[in-house]
Amino acid sequence: MIFLAGLLTIFLIAFIYTYIFSSKILLEEGRKNAANLTDLTITRIENILQPVQIVPTNLVQALETPGIAGKEIIRLAREYVIESPEVFGSCLAYEPYVHSDKEYWYAPYTYETSSGVRFKNLGSRDYDYFNLDWYRLPKLMNHPVWTEPYFDKGGGDALMCTYSVPYYKVEAGKRVFKGVLTMDISLSSFERIINSVKVFKSGYAFLVSKKGRIINYPDLVTVNENILDIARKGNGINTIRAIGEMLQGKRGFVRVDGLRAKKDPSFLYYAPVASTGWSLGIIFPEKELFSDFIGFFRRLIIIFAVCVLSILITTVLITRRLTIPISRLVDATHRIGQGDFNALLPIHRSNDEISKLTNAFSVMQEELSTYLRNLKETTIAKEKIESELKIAHTIQMGMLPTEFPSRKECDLFAILESAKEVGGDLYDFFFLDSDHLCVAIGDVAGKGVPAALFMAITRTLLRSNISLSISLHEAIQRINQSLVKENPNQMFVTFWAGIIDLRSGEMEFCNAGHNYPYILKKDGIVQKIPQTNGLPLGIYNETPYSSRKIQILQGEILILYTDGVTEALNTDQEFYGDNKLVQLLSGLESKTANEIGLKLAGDVHAFSMGHEQADDITILVMIYEGMNTAKTYSMDKIKVTLLNQLDELEKIVDVVEEISGKWGLPSRVSMELNLVLEELFTNIVFYAFDDGKKHELQIEFERTGEGIIKIRMIDEGKPFNLLTKTTIDFNSPLEDRKVGGLGIHFVKEMMDHVEYERDGNKNVVILTRKFS
């Protein structure tokens, strides 16, 4: 298409150029022809005019010669009129009284009529020739003159032009004007010449006088009109200007309007007729000048169009022949693209590029089909594995205990975040008996299903091997041996286990190649737990393991973790590291285990933001709350310290149970104590403090004598004397019953004696109850 457009443009440019160039040449040719024709016609006109000028001039010369009579001249002039077909008439007109003293007018005139040559005297009162141009102008100008065309009424009675030659006589040394000799030419004399000029189909010549009077104009009937008037009737300034120049005797070639009866645009060539000052114009229509040329161009356009059309058809045919197999191939590829691998490729018989392309596509189709089949199978297999991995992950996570023990001696929390679906980390905690808690952490080298399985085995072995009946390092040794035995993949696990006696805080531990855990002390100092130098589990059967013991004090925190914490990478490829870990931990000594664990995990995540988690992150935190800090034991005195939190109520229940057993309280009394202490305690929790902070309160139990128990409850809250509070109204109907005051009512009713004192900033309530 672009090719065709280009071709078309080139043709068009050539075409336009040729047209402009050709029309210029054609116009120039037209001008030359018109000029030649004009000159030729002017020559023919001059051929008529020249003799008409020469003869009277000669006669006047003769007349001026002394001795030659006017009569003789008139006779000669008459002979010339008869001889010359162009000359219509001739007159010798005298000045007044020159011919004779009696004759004012004397102008003998010889002229041709249809019935022969006539003779008459022109001058009379009716024909006062002295004022006519043919007499007046030569007299005035002192030289021969061609008159403008005129109708000689009373003279020749015809349309004519007159050549007048003045004659003089020398009288007293002066040339004195005596009269004129004229030759009349009928304008019809030029008709033949002008009419014989034919230019193209309707072009013609015309002749105008010096003043523009039309001498001959074939196209326009109105003779004797002025050419300027005709030009003015048309609208073209060009035309008026051209006519103006024409009348000034110039020569030119212009395009004009309105000079022809048809008013069609035409070309005018004009040139002067030198002897008379007339002007000859040749005018021919523009259309006719170019008619052949336009015909030629029409044919050229048709030929050109036929050429372009045949090129177009040929191109389309060739292109279709070339592209049909390709577009079929494209269709087939689309179908393949949409997944129809059985789409038939078009059969192309010729052995060209297209058939090569088709073959290549066919090969690609087969390979693609095979590839996709394989991909589908692989994907199904992969999906299956992935879903199995997810299940494995769920199972693995299910193996880890998440119910943290609710023992007041310890606060425990653990978290494991896998890097992949299934990982190789593990943690565990369980009670060996009511006082011995076992905590463990491990990291299997490697990831994925094998690591997870190895981790599961390790955990199972841990649970089945650790007991109080053998020492910890022996148990670890057994676990190691079992792992070595069933370890075809040469896997291993770094492992750390500890057994804590919650009564004393003593911890026995054994490390099998794991990172050393930390102890966070109450003052914020972080200490490493010493190593026991054991190899990771699963490597050598005979490796010895040893265990050690340390004392964990009340409030100290044990932190176990895997290298997923310390070796977490950030985007700058830096490790989280031990320093950062220690730094973070040292501010967390007053937090709960849960808070510490989540804070650490969160910090690691924030550190490695933007970097994919490379390894499992496992953290286990155990705060040793101690056994003997909240209670003071003696035979007859027990003191318990509580925080102003509702869940501390448990401690009251425990301690009441304890003294009930120890001092043999009847169940009714212990229930009453429970009830009374709960009411007082909840009062303190709800009302004693407004600051929302934790506060301690003490309850002291004392057996003051046989069967008497005394309880002192001390808090540092707002002053509150329960004895001044009114108790409930028993007789009010149900609708008005309120629970407020019921607790205090119980206290007063159930205790034998209730005292209150304000001791500094402390409320002290003293209860006494007999129990036997």
């Binding site: 109520l649 028993f730 629970v739 119980f746």
Partner: protein, 110 residues
């Protein structure tokens, strides 16, 4: 504390086991409120296994009694342990609650 709810043709029996105190009264509150809001306004509280109640617990029972009475329903207790009965006596609640010594007797009132 453990709560067991049992629907019979006549009423809903709520069985309280264990201690009803400040730490867990809200469980009972929710249970009873749900029942009453679902127009179960015939409620029998079986107390044979309830071995402790504090004023917080009593408050819930009182609240339930008020709501059920307003709804023209019935809220009764049965099988109170001696200790509990004493608490009810001391608090004066024995005067405003209908308390029956056995479930059979209690069921007759519905």
């Amino acid at each position: 504390m453990e709560l067991i709810e049992q629907k019979t043709e006549k009423c809903v029996i709520v069985n309280i086991t264990g201690r009803l105190d400040t730490t867990n009264y809200s469980l009972l509150e929710k249970k009873l409120t749900d029942l009453i809001e679902n127009h179960e306004d015939k409620i029998l509280v079986e107390c044979s296994k309830m071995d402790y109640v504090s004023s917080s617990g009593l408050r819930i029972l009182l609240m339930a009694l008020k709501k059920v009475t307003m709804a023209k329903g019935k809220f009764v207790l049965c099988n109170l342990q001696d200790n509990i009965r004493e608490i009810f006596e001391i608090s004066g609640f024995s005067n405003i609650f209908e308390i029956y010594p056995s479930q059979e007797e209690a069921l007759k009132v519905f």
